[in-house]
């Protein structure tokens, strides 16, 4: 019995070696490799849109259409997110009831750090987004948390993004199997078709950026989160990344998840990581 299983094992490993020798390229496929993924992701867009400057991808649909770009540049002289920005600045500076401020919860006092979020928290074993960190900061100081999708949260993150404008997205994936799993899970969510329309996030934002969906021009997935939060004319107000994910789901007639659900945090992690090296441009304005 023993001899037989040893023989079986021997021939099996011999077969494996032979397989590896004959098809050396297949080996990497089932391994999570964020570096290679990010490179492939960026190259896809750079090759698809050779005329678009790399750092311009963060401007979404405006990088794809000259007319829209002109309108937007005109609008940027007096941007619609200005009220939110002013409100966010004031909120950020106003102390909590216990005298502490948001600045006490964040590295460098919360200024110029947007490019580091979301990050993987090794203690918690999960991805932590800026919105989540802000609400945790509020709760730790005895304040009620804000809505994750708009209003105060969007104003606060608008201000924090504004102080980080031009800094390059710098998401890290620590050497931790849980971090790799979160990245992989986010990637899977991004490419999985769902809802009545059977669309994935990638159906619009990888397959068809620059093309029209009714009157709108689809934004490229590359750098799409660098502009968050955004003022959307369609919403006539500000929205966070969570709001974008929720509306994306309902537009494809899928059931949206709760804002800051694990899947949303993972997909934010994935999308931010593959945009590493592109500048923060938030808060943005979109049609």
């Amino acid at each position: 019995m023993k001899a037989r299983s040893a023989l079986l094992l021997g021939s099996l490993s011999a077969a494996l070696v032979a397989f590896a020798l004959t098809s050396p390229r297949v080996v990497a496929a089932d391994k999570v490799d964020p570096v290679a993924d990010a490179k492939a992701f960026q190259n896809f867009f750079f090759q698809k849109f050779p005329d678009v400057k790399h750092e311009d991808f963060v401007n979404g649909p405006y990088s794809m259409n000259a007319d829209m770009k002109r309108q937007w540049q005109e609008k940027e002289e007096f941007p619609p997110y200005e009220f939110a920005l002013d409100a966010g600045k004031e909120m950020f500076a106003t102390p909590f009831k216990n005298g502490k401020t948001y600045a006490d919860c964040f590295p460098s006092g919360g200024i110029g750090i947007r490019q580091n979020y979301p990050y993987f928290d090794e203690k918690e074993g999960k991805v932590v987004t800026l919105e989540l960190a802000l609400n945790r900061c509020r709760e730790a100081n005895g304040e009620v948390p804000y809505s994750y999708v708009k209003d105060e949260m969007a104003s606060l993150t608008a201000y924090m993004a504004y102080t980080s404008r031009g800094k390059l997205m710098d998401i890290k994936i620590p050497d931790d199997p849980r971090a790799l799993a979160a990245f992989e899970n986010g990637k899977r969510y991004f490419y999985t078709r769902r809802g009545q329309m059977n669309f994935s996030c990638a159906s619009c934002h990888v397959q068809s950026p620059g093309e029209r969906i009714r009157a709108e021009i689809l934004a490229p997935a590359l750098g799409i989160l660098n502009a968050m939060p955004i003022y959307r004319s369609e919403w006539s107000g500000m929205g966070t990344t969570s709001r974008r994910f929720v509306t994306c789901n309902s537009q494809t007639r899928a059931v949206p998840l709760e804002p800051q659900a694990d899947e949303y945090r993972d997909v934010e992690y994935f999308l931010s990581y593959v945009a590493n090296g592109l500048p923060i441009s938030g808060p943005g304005a979109r049609p």
């Binding site: 007096f78 200005e82 002013d86």
Partner: protein, 103 residues
């Protein structure tokens, strides 16, 4: 509370270009809230820009203007350093006024 009006006025020779952004809900009275009740109409009725005691832009608005309206226009006859007074009145009697220097 901060002003609901943001203005930028720049003089370029004889022509002064004015941009203004006003924070206002501009409710039409046709939209329902999450409980299914109508949100009452609430909109700016008159928007006025004055320079050196003279009206340079007066708009009589209705419900068709979008939320947080943006206005841009230019006029002649002002110079750098002049004051530009902006005011609005809405249908509920609310109002706001601010003054900006032409730069």
């Amino acid at each position: 509370m901060a002003s609901t009006i943001r203005v930028r006025a720049t003089s370029n020779g004889d022509i002064t270009e004015v941009q203004a952004l006003i924070q206002h809900p501009m409710d039409t009275g046709l939209v329902k809230d999450s409980k299914g009740e109508l949100i009452p109409a609430h909109y700016i009725q008159e928007l006025k820009f004055e320079c050196n005691g003279k009206d340079v832009f007066v708009a009589n608005w209705g419900t068709a203007v979008s939320k947080d309206p943006y206005v841009k226009f230019s006029f002649k006859g002002a110079k750098k350093g002049d004051d530009l007074k902006i005011s609005w009145i809405d249908n509920k009697g609310g109002s706001d006024t601010t003054t900006a220097k032409i730069s």
